[in-house]
């Protein structure tokens, strides 16, 4: 990290906010400007930003962050059922409950570091997943998942005189329905706020201490710093971000299932962060958006589309090509993701943001001929 000025931080923040709010415009050429997908970009962006506060700053790799995502979703749906279909209480409760949950898991897991820490978080998340499926069925509704029903109490809504008789109510923000484009804009604002908080944390003395822990944890202790509460707070904060992301999922689609807590979901956020660039501010959001975009595009390809794409080829070759390519799309799109991830980690260990940095460095050298200036400007965006 270099010392970036307060001004350059504001420029970065405003550029980020502008880019997020204008997504419906500039995503149109990619065929990705429909609300469902853009909501996912924002939700997983928040998840990855929070994960990066732990992994990117302290270097502690959690393999169980999906547990907090799931807890956030369940809490939000319960808030919809018991209190109100308004999204604000749901989001607040989700953050608090996920934070408490993260405190408990973090308190125990942080007694170890390195691979042992990762395994502990993985074990806790799998425990949560299995509990949600079995013992906790009264709370989680097991395999079916937690859903709204007509007979829900909705105490606050009832007090406000809002009753439903026919169809299930939809989530709202003081009457504004949270589906379609309003839902996207809500998620976009939440993402921008989350980014702002992460930016402040990264640039703060607290953030500097977290980077110190990543760089040389032993030294921190001999410098008079107690690393345990620093790590625990980083863990809890990133758990709260995950809870927020889980709540946003419930806001855009008010149901919660245990599969959200599965280890594959925990692994996904690790991939997003590393693909985008761990330790950078923008990287995790880019990684999240890229993975969700590819998931959407590649998984929608089926045999019919492939056959049409390779029509020009002779029949015998066409069937071979379609069969081979077919492995990487549709249900098998994870294969593409795996390849993409391998290529990134081997050639660009710092993720997409390292690619960006290398390119800016090239340009700057062309312009001024000084490589130190290059690393400085590139570092303005890099944390």
């Amino acid at each position: 990290m270099k010392n970036s000025s307060a001004l350059s931080d504001w420029v970065l923040f405003l550029a980020f906010a502008a880019a997020v709010l204008t997504m419906p415009l500039w995503l149109a050429p990619f065929g990705a400007n429909y609300p469902d997908l853009m909501q996912k970009f924002a939700i997983f962006g928040v998840f990855a930003i929070g994960f990066n506060i732990l992994f990117g700053l302290t270097g502690y790799l959690s393999f169980g962050h999906a547990a907090f995502l799931g807890v956030g979703s369940y809490t939000a749906v319960w808030s919809f059922k018991l209190l109100s279909m308004n999204v604000l209480p749901a989001i607040m409760f989700s953050i608090v409950v996920a934070g408490v949950f993260a405190f408990l898991i973090g308190y125990i897991s942080l007694r170890r570091s390195g691979i042992y820490f990762s395994i502990l978080t993985l074990a806790f998340a799998q425990m949560s997943y299995n509990l949600a499926y079995s013992v906790l069925t009264p709370i989680t509704n097991g395999e079916t998942g937690l859903q709204l029903s007509l007979s829900d109490a909705r105490v606050l809504d009832a007090m406000a005189g809002i009753t439903v008789t026919r169809s299930l109510p939809s989530t709202n923000l003081f009457g504004m329905k949270m589906s379609g484009m309003p839902g996207f804009y809500f998620c976009a604002v939440v993402l921008i706020v989350a980014f702002f908080i992460a930016l402040r944390i990264t640039r703060s003395p607290f953030g500097a201490m977290l980077k110190g822990i990543k760089s040389n944890q032993t030294r921190m202790a001999y410098t008079g710093l107690n690393t345990r509460p620093y790590l625990l707070w980083a863990f809890v904060i990133s758990g709260m971000f995950a809870g927020l992301a889980g709540a946003m999922m419930a806001v855009t689609d008010p149901l919660a299932g245990a599969e959200r807590m599965q280890w594959t979901a925990s692994g996904e956020v690790v991939l997003m962060t590393i693909l985008g660039g761990a330790g950078t501010l923008i990287g995790p959001v880019l990684g999240a958006a890229l993975i969700k975009y590819f998931e959407n595009i590649f998984s929608s390809f089926n045999e019919r589309i492939l056959n049409r794409a390779f029509e020009a080829l002779p029949d015998s070759i066409q069937s071979i090509v379609v069969d081979t390519v077919g492995l990487f799309v549709g249900e098998g799109w994870h294969l593409t993701l795996g390849l993409l991830f391998m290529i990134t980690v081997i050639f660009l260990p710092g993720g997409i943001m390292e690619g960006v940095r290398r390119i800016t460095a090239l340009f700057d050298r062309d312009k001024s001929g000084s490589s130190s200036a290059a690393s400085n400007t590139a570092a303005a965006e890099h944390s």
Partner: protein, 253 residues
Amino acid sequence: MDNVVLHVADVHKSFAGLHALSDIDLSVKEGETHAIIGPNGAGKSTLLNVCIGRLRPDSGHVVFNGENLTGKQPHQINQLGVVRVFQTPEIFPELSLLENVMIPILAKRDGSFKLSWFRRFAGENNVRSKAEGILQDLGIGSFTNSEAGSLSRGDKRRLELAMGLAQEPRLLLLDEPTAGMARHDTNATIDLLKRIKAQGMTKVIIEHDMHVVFSLADRISVLAGGRIICQGTPEEVKADPKVKEAYLGEEQV
């Protein structure tokens, strides 16, 4: 009697039956520079590690300004004002020089934990200018924004020293501050340590280089085989036949 700052009382430490330290009794007075010398494997580093809480003695205790350090965590001992400068630089290689020095200053100012997440680290102007001053003082002030990991070995050691001095310690423990330095750098470091001494900082210094020891130390303890075999002023130690024996084949005193 002068004011005793550090008192190591009857400390024993053994590793798997090997007596690393036995019967160590040592008093360091306020403002003095106390050198600990001895052949390799004499237990010098073990003694320092006991003082800063990295190792726990089997018996005996270490008292600093009336407070028992035994059983305290390293960060608590540091917060009391006991700061160690490491022999192999323990720096933050990925952070800039400035950050490397600002972190210890903040640790002293804000204590062992503070959740200040909304302030700007780079906006801590007092801390920053103090850190810049110290880096300047040590001759590495011209590249405050470079990554610490990219420094030369000698400069890393200066940075290590800067990080220690930045905390304005009440007791500074120096582990071979000039090992591996060129003669020119060694002299610069001696000058610097003399200047600190003039400010009245109490120091314990482990050193192999006798030139350094005799230019700085007020008193010397000679450690051999985990025991203190001789203690006194540089002149007394020079004259002691036991010391010559311990160093035979090692180094001439």
